[in-house]
Amino acid sequence: MRATGLSACLLLGVSLVLGPPAAGGGQAESPPPAGAPGLRYEIWIELDPDGKMLLGKEEIIWTNPTQDAVPDMLLHLYWNAFKNEASVYMRENAAETGLLRGGSPEDGEWGWIDVTDIRLADGSDLRPALTFVTPDGPETEGDQTVARILFPAPVQPGESVHLRLEFKSKIPRTVARSGYYRDSFFIGQWYPKPGVYEEGKGWNCHAYHLNSEFFADFADFVVHITVPTGFVLGSSGKAAETRTDQAAGTTTTTYRQAMVHDFAWTASPRYLKIERDFVADREVTAKEYDEAAALLGLPLEEVRLPDVKMTLLIAPEHKGQIERHFRALRAAIKFYGLWYGPYPYETVTMVDPPFRTGSGGMEYPTLFTAGTSVLPSRNVLSPEGVIVHEFGHGYWYGLVASNEFEAAWLDEGFNTYSTGRVLAAAYGPGALSARFKGWPLDWFLRLPKIFDFETDRVAAINVVRYDPVTAWSWKFYDRMSYGANVYMRAATLLNTLERLLGEPAWPRIMRTYATRYRFRHPTKADFAAVVNEIAGRDMTWFFDELFEGTRSFDYGVASVASVKVPVQRRGVFDAGGAREEWTTEKVEAFEAAAAEAGDGPGRYRTTVVLRRYGEARLGGGDRVEAVVRFEDGTVETRTWDGQGRWARLEFVKPARAVSAQIDPRGVWLIDEDLANNSRRVGGLRRNTVKLMTQLLFAVQCVLHFFGSWS
């Protein structure tokens, strides 16, 4: 019955949604209408919850947007990453953990996808020509996550190809945010998906790597999902219609969504489904619109936000956190919309992922997963942080669709930066996250509150030793370097750029980049070009030195010292044809007489030495500021181009210096050591003493603990 139902859906769907195949039934489809993406999907998928299987049929219409004649197509078959230990994913996982079976599923829990049939619309069978390829080099041999199909004839520029596929998949037991636990399913990266064809280069279609996410072209999707009646379904896109097959005990829901580059869904009988509206006029005040328009230099109409239908699928045990989820989502829709352009889709679905499906904290177009626990923290911004972050990927990945394989920082770094800004604007700083045996420690202790940019910076400053931010995802030294570089270091560099370029340049840069590259696949060069254009200056050095480079950035104050300038110097002097020796005794007598005569407090020579401790240097005319403060309250400010290893500043003033500080405005957030950015004359400060007493107390407690085991 199920297979019959699926076939009926398939036939009906093809004729109604995609229309009849082109005359001749071959590859040459009519190109899509202007403005529509060159890729269209229609997928019929049925979930077999008992067998943990997916049975699917898929129609793909791809239009060649380039001037190349394209002889083939590369398809992602991501779930084959979980098929065996020969996959790139599993081999990289084993290498990362240092274990032979590191991260491998248990017996019987493997996942895979088989393309059982693939034909052109005229019925030409392409399955025999389907081969697995290893686009990332021969070392990935054995991997089956990329398949190549060869067309009978190349697809000419502007022509379309219409493919009909059948596939079946074994759902893995929770790996890489896809899979099942008991009767709950999260289904991501599940259907055969073409890579991105790049003119002159061919298909950009990488294997499924451990430290990487995804890349695909914008498309129009129609997806018919069949699940057992009683399952609560959540999906990318907007539900168009639902039909129940009483005999089969299944319900089929059709979802449609234009201009997205991926499609994910989830099903579980345990979900609670709650729907709310983001009503823009209620969330954003007229003043906020005015301020945003003025800051961005845009007409008011361009910053106005549309309403959005919000859906939350949440586990019953998290019911008490529904309002927290919606509040965070509303803040995200509001601020991302005001800063980076209105959210263009009608719906967004927020999923509190089913227990042990391991699918929390992941983004898909118009759907994302969050994640919380039964005992939520009070002051920690969780689940708020993950909600804002994953919704934000709707912009940085969803709309500005950079290549996550080759430039993960362009979405993760931008989004980590943006998440921090939204959380700061909506909530202020959040407490450090700490738990013990599931208990949030902020229930019992006052944990310090911090902004995201602070923790990002701490995580970011050291990883420069391993890789540049711009490395390809799977070519990072290890997972830690990948994560800290593409998320935190990239975010810290963007925060540094923000501080350096200031308002209104920076918000306009971000807005311009976000809107100019909406529905496109920008690269670092595209972003750098926007920065240079809007800032009106060449910031290439910043990208070369800090994004591409692996040198640490650390400027500091090495020393500050003031010495009295002698009123009279010792030695032999020629004056007026005579020669006179000023002896020590004579100088002392002279100085005593001058002091007695009240000739002022004397003068001091202050020497401040600035140092470039790191290897990275400033460039492009940017300079670092240094401020020296004196006992009489005066302040001297200098700037340094930071090219040499050190610079000496000298001041002769009637007062001694009390402190010197480099980068007093905190522009260079990427600076590796903030402690050496200032140097004051004088001893320990109260807070340092307090810290030391607390350290001593901590050691006393540790020793007492050791003693208790005697």
Partner: protein, 288 residues
């Protein structure tokens, strides 16, 4: 003797023998100062001349993260030296327990340093042997028994429908571990007391005395132990609550915080002697 009466009597003893607390406190402070020197030196080098020194907070993530990364090569050495110091301190406490138990059980005797040191020397080898036996019990408790408990809980946890069950089981596991450890601790305490009170030279015999004693009145003995643990928890809550109120600018709150922290260390040391004193009172009220 009843539970409360034993604890109250123990309190009386510890107060009468307050000099023991002073000795133990001084030992703790001296060792802590020595152990903390490298850490304090790092803090001083980093912050003495920096503006950060004026704004740094105890758990300042900016400074803490930066310092950890900056000194990451030195950190393993510091951690190792702290661990070695801790183990040495543990060994020292095996020695000091002779003085603690000896003086607390000598009702009429003085709690002077010579008398304390004399007891330390008198019982050191017996308590060292007891420590070796206790180690076996700790390993059995944490390794074998808790391993069995884990094996019992695992299938339940793995088949859970929501996170509640794993959460409850995980906490239950911890609770069971703590309760079992408290029993081992209690047995070791009573054995020490038996060594001194019964002038028993054979540790295994003393252990048998303790076990026989506990067999007859386990629940009351455990109640004494757990009530003192409860007191410790209450004390810790009071300590951290008051410490949180001692913020503010100026030297006075800083000094008050320092004094309060040291008072807490003294409280913890007092609790340790109270365990011995209360259990000794209970033991002596029911002669073997």
């Amino acid at each position: 003797m009843g539970v409360i009466k034993a604890i109250l009597a123990g309190m009386g003893t510890t107060i009468r023998k307050a000099r023991i607390l002073v000795i133990l406190y001084v030992v703790n402070l001296v060792f802590a100062v020595i152990a903390a020197v490298p850490l304090l030196a790092l803090v001083r080098a980093d912050l003495e001349h920096s503006f950060l020194g004026a704004s740094v907070r105890p758990l300042d993530p900016m400074w803490l993260g930066e310092a950890v990364l900056e000194h990451q090569e030195a950190l393993p050495a510091i951690a190792a030296s702290l661990a070695v110091f801790g183990l040495f301190y543990l060994a020292l406490h095996v020695f000091l327990y002779g003085g603690i138990v000896g003086r607390l059980l000598d009702r009429e005797g003085p709690a002077t340093l010579p008398a304390f040191a004399g007891d330390c020397g008198r019982y050191v080898w017996r308590f060292a042997r007891l420590f070796a036996i206790a180690l076996v019990f700790y390993v059995l408790t944490l390794g074998v028994v808790m391993g069995l408990v884990s094996a019992l809980f695992r299938p339940l946890s793995e088949s859970a429908v929501t996170e509640w069950l794993p959460f409850i089981l995980s906490n239950l596991h911890l609770l069971i571990a703590l309760l079992l450890l408290s029993i081992v601790h209690m047995v070791v305490d009573y054995t020490r007391i038996a060594v001194v009170a019964d002038a028993e030279r054979k540790v295994l015999k003393a252990l048998r005395h303790a076990l026989t004693f506990l067999k007859k009145r386990f629940w009351r003995a455990w109640a004494i132990y757990l009530l003192i643990v409860l007191g410790t928890i209450v004390g810790a809550v009071v300590f951290y609550t008051v410490l949180g109120l001692l913020g503010g600018p100026g030297v006075a709150p800083l000094a008050a915080g320092l004094v309060w922290m040291q008072a807490y260390i003294l409280f913890r040391i007092w609790i340790r002697t109270l365990f011995v004193a209360a259990q000794a009172e209970f033991y002596r009220s029911h002669p073997y």
